[in-house]
Symmetry: C2
Subunit: 338 residues, 2 copies
Amino acid sequence: MMTFALDPNATHVPFDLLVLRLRSLLEEAGASEEVAAILARNCAACERDGTFSHGVFRIPGYLSTLRSGWVDGHAQPQIARVGASYLRIDAMNGFAQPALEAACEDIRAMIGESGAAIVALRNSHHFSALWPDVEPWADAGLVALTMVTGGPAVMPRGVARPVFGTNPIAFATPVEGGMPIAMDFATSSMSQGDLRIARDEGRRVPLGTGIGRQGRDTEDPAEILDEGGILPFGGHKGALLSLMVELLASALTGGPFSHEVDMSSAPGAEIPRTGQLLIVLDPQRGGNDRFGGRVAGLVQMLRDMGMARLPGDHRYQRRAKAAAQGVPITPAIRALFI
Amino acid sequence: MMTFALDPNATHVPFDLLVLRLRSLLEEAGASEEVAAILARNCAACERDGTFSHGVFRIPGYLSTLRSGWVDGHAQPQIARVGASYLRIDAMNGFAQPALEAACEDIRAMIGESGAAIVALRNSHHFSALWPDVEPWADAGLVALTMVTGGPAVMPRGVARPVFGTNPIAFATPVEGGMPIAMDFATSSMSQGDLRIARDEGRRVPLGTGIGRQGRDTEDPAEILDEGGILPFGGHKGALLSLMVELLASALTGGPFSHEVDMSSAPGAEIPRTGQLLIVLDPQRGGNDRFGGRVAGLVQMLRDMGMARLPGDHRYQRRAKAAAQGVPITPAIRALFI
């Protein structure tokens, strides 16, 4: 048994130590060594990069879900190539990240041969941010688009109860001479993680974030989470995007729709069993032989025109700082080491 | 020379007669017989289905652009298969619709073999709605996603001038036992067509639609079109989607970015030369052997929960009515027949 201790005066923890601690906790809760390693690195990376809504804050949910038996921490994903550019993965009731990792070589091979990979993942659990699923593809010179469903949380105006998940979409592209652009956003007005953090911190949220009891607009995150639903972002168009995610990430893959997710049989379970679609493309085959440079030019123009922050900027700044100083210790992190 | 006449008392025109009239006008302006036939049917379908912002209203723009020499009405698209599921099309400065039509058999063949088609189209002109580019694929049992850039029109808050096009996204899916769901929306708060119609009719638009002179918010569509820019829908997330469209529809395909489009060398030209990405997938290969039925179940649930109108409903109602009565004659239609 390893022991972990934090200096009571320390303000930062080394990234690798945080990963090790998360691994041991995940293993103790029932994840295999391999699954724990992948989830720990993923979760610590979210924390390090400032994606707090999917960082250490989520660890209690991972642990209680593993202990509930709702998710299989030892699942062996089943991978089937169903076309030159089409892969089907059954995560066998395990987590999405190890399933995608297991398919990594197949995806690379498909892209090498055909320039494209359509990856339909089902029976999978996703409790993290989506940018970690696309950023590595952009690091490898490819563009990647992914979307995932979740539990019922989002109700478009006029609808009686939550019918969609927060259904995030992430997209990443390489940028010549720079870090990738990797965007990741819920198709809801706010992610469930951010709404829970607001509730736990006693903060109100802007009107338009969600619906409370009896269909009324409210600023109370607890009321939105418990008695109503989150609104899609951007009104009707956001609702359409959310519907598209249900169709591509669930209907196409064979995963459950968000409204079908019911964890009541597994007390402690917090992570919906779901579906996910990932599309990875070699942009060089599209017709433009200097894709990365074209993107770099667009990015420079946008910065010159006043777009102060592009997707990823904030994460890379925090990442660089953490590489030098370690990850800032929050109360949630300190609690892990007691 | 054919002559066309409308009964001065008629309230409706047969769809096929409208198509014929549009064909002759497009041919007179310089389109080939084949190109004119495709564009006329496309435009008349938009009018018939109630997509007025891309219907007969657009004909003067088509004609002046053809006459300006900016677009080649006789272009022969160059099609290259660059992977098992990857097609590259150079529209050779012609319209997008005939180029996609020319590639139709190749796309079908790719999907039959591999289950997927990535179509990167460049050097193309798109002046219509996007749903006609995806609905036929859903009719054939496939899902389709497309996006296209345009001229500079959209400025996210904080940006000094328009940097993105209205960059629409369209998505269609088959629904077992029903008509396809086909969504089509600009990633801007409003399409340029709707904004122009508001301007021409002397209507104001809601605050938040766009920015006027000196960066101020305005309800004046003319000021937004001439001195400022349209805002993305849904704030920051809409701006990210618009950026994604620039990257996929322009950088990947080799088309110009929206901010690079400059028609000043061709007086009369109104249609940006652009790029477009189309992704068509066989949903049956994803892992769910009854995709259409799953979608039908979701659609029924959404209707039961109060979602009064799903994407396409409105169009199909108008289409059915037009099949019985003809297309309602507007002043714009009457003007074509004088």
